[in-house]
């Protein structure tokens, strides 16, 4: 069963008004696969949920820092221009929502919360850190679509030294285009499209179970000296892409992909 897309939406897209149990099962399974494919492409689960994560995922403490040496009357010092991505913390799940207060703790010896007594002191939002909120949702809560958090000072570079509990993702209403300020309906649209293609592929090649029934892609069939003919145009639409999702779906999802997380982790 899909978490985002309801089976009724795909059945309607396919024109299956009275589906058999087999057709329902095929479509239901296709939705699960389509949702998984979309999540993999986005690099996160777009359904809103409370999440606990540890950052940085990658140990950046040994990465070379860009900078230059200066000196004053008594000592030399390094002026750092940049160091990996430690100026911004890029979270995996988008968008960050403010309807539940974020809890963020920094412990440079936290080791992904495996050390006893780690992450006991919470940082203060607005003082110690602040997500790059870019607007309000329909409920008047802030939303941060790029998933970046800035801090007062630099983020630590040691892996697993930041623990964050936050809410991210879109509601089902937003994923279905039922809200005016936050519209993520293209994600659901991509899932419906992918599930429809996967369902058609399965149903077009399934074993014939009804006498006289001919699947859409097969244009002719004969029992004696068995042979059949396939409509090449239909087959191309059904089986044209060997990729996980089609280019049309990738285009729909383009604005939702978390490229930053892929780069920094």
């Amino acid at each position: 069963m899909g978490k985002i897309t309801d089976i009724a939406e795909v059945l309607l897209e396919m024109g299956l008004e009275s589906p058999s149990n087999l057709e329902r099962s095929v479509v239901d399974s296709a939705i699960v696969k389509a949702e998984a494919a979309v999540k993999r492409y986005l690099n996160y689960d777009p359904l809103r949920a409370l999440r606990t994560e540890y950052y940085p995922q990658m140990d950046q403490s040994n990465l070379p820092a860009r900078g230059y040496w200066e000196s004053n009357s008594s000592s030399a010092y390094l002026v750092r221009e940049s160091s990996a991505s430690a100026d911004e913390l890029q979270l995996q799940h988008l968008p960050i929502r403010s309807n539940v207060a974020m809890i963020l703790s920094i412990d440079t010896n936290g080791k992904f919360d495996t050390v006893s007594g780690a992450f006991t002191t919470a940082s203060v939002e607005g003082t110690d850190f602040w997500p790059r909120y870019d607007g309000l949702d329909d409920d008047g809560n802030k939303i941060c679509r790029d998933g970046m958090i800035l801090s007062s000072g630099r983020w630590p570079l040691a892996a697993g030294s930041v623990k964050i509990i936050y809410t991210a993702g879109y509601t089902l209403a937003e994923l279905h285009g039922q809200k005016s300020l936050v519209d993520a309906s293209q994600i659901n649209d991509a899932i419906i499209g992918e599930a429809t293609i996967k369902s058609k592929k399965a149903l077009a090649t399934k074993k014939h179970i009804v006498a006289g029934f001919v699947s859409g892609v097969i244009t002719a069939e004969r029992m004696g000296d068995y042979n059949y003919a396939v409509d090449p145009a239909t087959a191309a639409k059904l089986f044209g892409s060997s990729l996980d999702i089609t280019s049309a779906s990738r285009e729909k999802l383009e604005n939702f992909v978390n490229c930053g997380w892929t780069i920094t982790n």
Binding site: I4, D6, L12, E17, L172
Partner: protein, 122 residues
């Protein structure tokens, strides 16, 4: 089975048969209960939490929606009437679930039918 198309904030009525697992029409007896729910499968899960609309036979909603159970003497079809005020949720495509609480089979609800429920803006 057909697509049920309704409009937001407009009264809606439909007659439905309750079928068993083999697709045969069930004739309900006195203590049986039937329930209709509208929502997305992921929201409804095992109970009516998250359903956009729920009505059980013998228990009308506050707005006056009713699911009238028939005993099979005149008809096996049960009438679902949804009041306009209960169709006050976002337009979209949902699943209409029909559940049966079979008095001869213990007190648990079983989903016995599903239909496409398309709610249009009025």
């Amino acid at each position: 089975m057909a697509v049920k198309a309704a409009q937001r904030l407009r009264n809606f009525a439909t007659d439905v048969n309750i079928l068993d697992g083999d697709g045969a029409v069930l004739t309900l007896v006195a203590d049986d209960e039937i329930r209709a729910r509208i929502g997305r499968s992921s929201e409804i899960l095992d109970d009516d939490t998250g359903a956009k609309f729920t009505v059980t036979s013998g228990t009308p909603t506050a707005a006056g929606s009713v699911f009238t159970k028939e005993g099979g003497t005149i008809t096996t079809q049960h009438r679902l009437r949804i009041d306009a005020a209960d169709l006050d949720f976002d337009a979209g495509t949902y699943t209409l679930f029909f559940d049966l609480n079979d008095s001869t089979d213990g007190d648990d609800w079983k989903t016995v039918g599903r239909e496409i429920f398309h709610l249009e803006d009025s």
